[in-house]
């Protein structure tokens, strides 16, 4: 009987460990498959740092799963992941810069399906529940779950997000940001190289989107400045600063992110409104008491 119990426990532990490990391997947390050579076991010429062009951002990138699994906003320190008394999604603590009265009113009107203020999907107003555009930078945080890629052409850098099959255009032809632009879901972006750092400035974002899945708001006056820098062949560092005086009383400086190059393809992951509506009607709405099974 005791042996049987131990075997059962082993199976449960293995299942739990397997689910996390599988994902970690998929998203390149630098784990090693069984039988693989470790770097110290390789010949010197193979273990030496790989050469890279610091002005070439092209490739598929993902956030390291281990460090950023629950990250979905500008700061990791928002997450009190050590508080095991709370379910995982509820551990998120929101500490953005102090909001203006306008920002606070907008924040209080949000009903996200994540975090400490979460309400069941279908009962809130999170754009993700109805396949609406999530906007930038929220789209970027999806990179903790899905990779994105950079594609460079002569006059643009294209940032291709897997979710929604979104292509963000960053113009590098010397143009200036538009003055008083009509708001756009993904804003207007320009970029230039400052030595080995690719600097992106963007504005003109539609204020219907949120910064993150916690419902943190922004206005159409939001300005983002991003600094991308390749640290090595497989690491891309990002520093971001958000300035939005209509919403926040101080700039919001994001924690530095180090994206990993991953050897996966971007696949089609479109949120199709008609299909999601059918799914909500048939499955999810009943789960949250919005309709009868």
């Amino acid at each position: 009987m005791r042996k049987h119990s131990l075997n059962s426990l082993s199976i449960v532990v293995s299942l739990v460990a397997f689910s996390g490990a599988t994902f970690a391997q998929t998203y390149g947390t630098k784990g090693y498959a069984p039988g693989a050579w470790k770097p110290e076991e390789l010949p010197k010429e193979l273990s030496a740092p790989k050469p890279f062009n610091p002005h070439d951002l092209s490739g598929v990138w993902s956030m390291p799963t281990k460090a950023n699994f629950e990250r979905h906003s500008l700061n990791d320190k928002r997450l009190n992941i050590q508080d095991k008394s709370l379910p995982g999604e509820m551990r998120a603590q929101s500490f953005p810069p102090p909001m203006t009265a306008w920002g606070k009113a907008k924040f209080e009107a949000t009903e996200p399906s994540y975090g400490p203020r979460s309400v069941p999907p279908g009962l809130g107003n999170d754009l993700v529940s109805t396949c609406e555009p999530l906007g930038y930078p929220r789209d970027l945080w999806e990179a903790n779950l899905r990779p994105f890629e950079f594609v460079q052409v002569s006059d643009r850098v294209l940032q291709h997000m897997q979710y929604h099959d979104l292509w963000r255009t960053i113009w590098t032809d010397g143009r200036a940001l538009p003055k008083d632009p009509d708001p756009a879901w993904n804003g207007y972006s320009i970029g230039h190289w400052d030595r080995d750092t690719f600097v992106v400035e963007s504005t003109g974002y539609d204020d219907r989107t949120w910064l993150d899945h916690f419902g943190d708001p922004h206005s159409d006056q939001m300005m983002l400045v991003e600094h991308y820098k390749r640290l090595d062949a497989d690491t891309l560092q990002l520093d971001m600063t958000l300035t939005d005086p209509k919403t926040y009383t101080a700039p919001w400086v994001a924690d530095t992110i180090a994206f990993e190059r991953v050897k996966v393809a971007i696949f089609e992951e479109i949120c199709a409104p008609s299909e999601e509506n059918r799914f909500n009607d048939r499955v999810r709405d009943a789960a949250v008491g919005k309709s009868k099974p």
Partner: protein
Amino acid sequence: MKFVGYGAVVLGLLMVSAPLMAHHGTGVAYEVDKLVTVKGTVTDWLWSNPHCGLLFDVTDDKGNVEHWGAELGNPHQMSGAGFARNTFKPGDKITVTGHPAKSGAPRMTLDHLVLADGKVLSGKGVKGNGERDDSTY
């Protein structure tokens, strides 16, 4: 644990895997620290973006039918886990394990299921949306 016909419900406790947390709304809509297992008959299979859904009927010993539904990840993600658009057809017998809805409604987010031929399909640990693992998300 034992099943009573097709209607028995078995609850268990299990630590939840990290990927489950990534699915948007999972933690607030479902009991992420509980598992429920039911036996049922497929009524519909929604192969759709960004979520697949499995509808099935569960009949108890008295003949009462409960209409269940399970939430899964997106098609590409589920393909990686061995699912396909034609994996299920109405009438198929299945045993399904998942995290039950907090509301008490017969809904769950899938952990794994067993087909009539004994084949096991798991909704966990597969990439995609985090749900990553649907995760979403």
